[in-house]
Symmetry: C2
Subunit: 98 residues, 2 copies
DNA sequence: TAAAAGTGCTTTGTTTTCCAAAGTTAAATA
DNA sequence: TATTTAACTTTGGAAAACAAAGCACTTTTA
């Protein structure tokens, strides 16, 4: 029998990063505070996970304004989409036996 | 929007424990060494993850013999099945939006 | 206009988790 | 009797996660 976990992406072992990606797959853009509230995280914790995803080129940051307020939003990259899909495929393969 | 990761089970954040469970769902019993080879782990590492799963009452240990050789096998418990299924349901719900 | 509050971080320090390597015990085989 | 195998336990170090505090900047409020 083949190693069932070999194809899982280590970046997505984290529930938080998994959550961020799952949100970004269906939302073109999402703001820092929306994510923070949705995932119930402290700023520091969220920022560090976002940083990990950005380092991997899985998400992109956009700094802009809403009216006159600063606003940072995040979106998924093509690479991110691909990696996330591959991870889900690996997960599914692992449990499709059910 | 609701927190998409709140229903994930922390025990299954670990790819290894996830792998063990996915194997045990389809195999009534599996031996320590089979698991070790399948998941490509050191004994200590595997033993500690198995211990975590046993503490949670998600798996059961059977110590016996094959012929005159000692043999330890593991099986999933009812609680384990239930918890694993709940985790998969949470995962699916999180990504069904796709 | 001074104080308060919000945004989005970075830094700091602690706790938790992970993991390999070595040590252990008991039985089996050479 | 020496070595090997099975299944751990212990040890120790590295990595990851996380909360809390600090910070720079802007905007709103009193």
């Amino acid at each position: 029998m083949k190693n069932p976990i070999a194809d899982l992406n280590k970046i997505f072992d984290s529930r938080i990063r998994l959550g961020v990606m799952s949100v970004l797959v269906v939302n073109d853009e999402i703001g820092f505070n929306d994510l923070k509230q949705m995932l119930e995280l402290t700023d520091g914790n969220l920022a560090s996970h976002l940083n990990t995803l950005e380092q991997a080129d899985f998400i992109k940051v956009h700094k802009g304004f809403i009216g006159r307020k600063t606003s940072t939003t995040y979106s998924i990259t093509a690479l991110g989409k691909q990696a996330f899909k591959a991870h889900l495929d690996a997960l599914e393969k692992m449990i499709r036996k059910l």
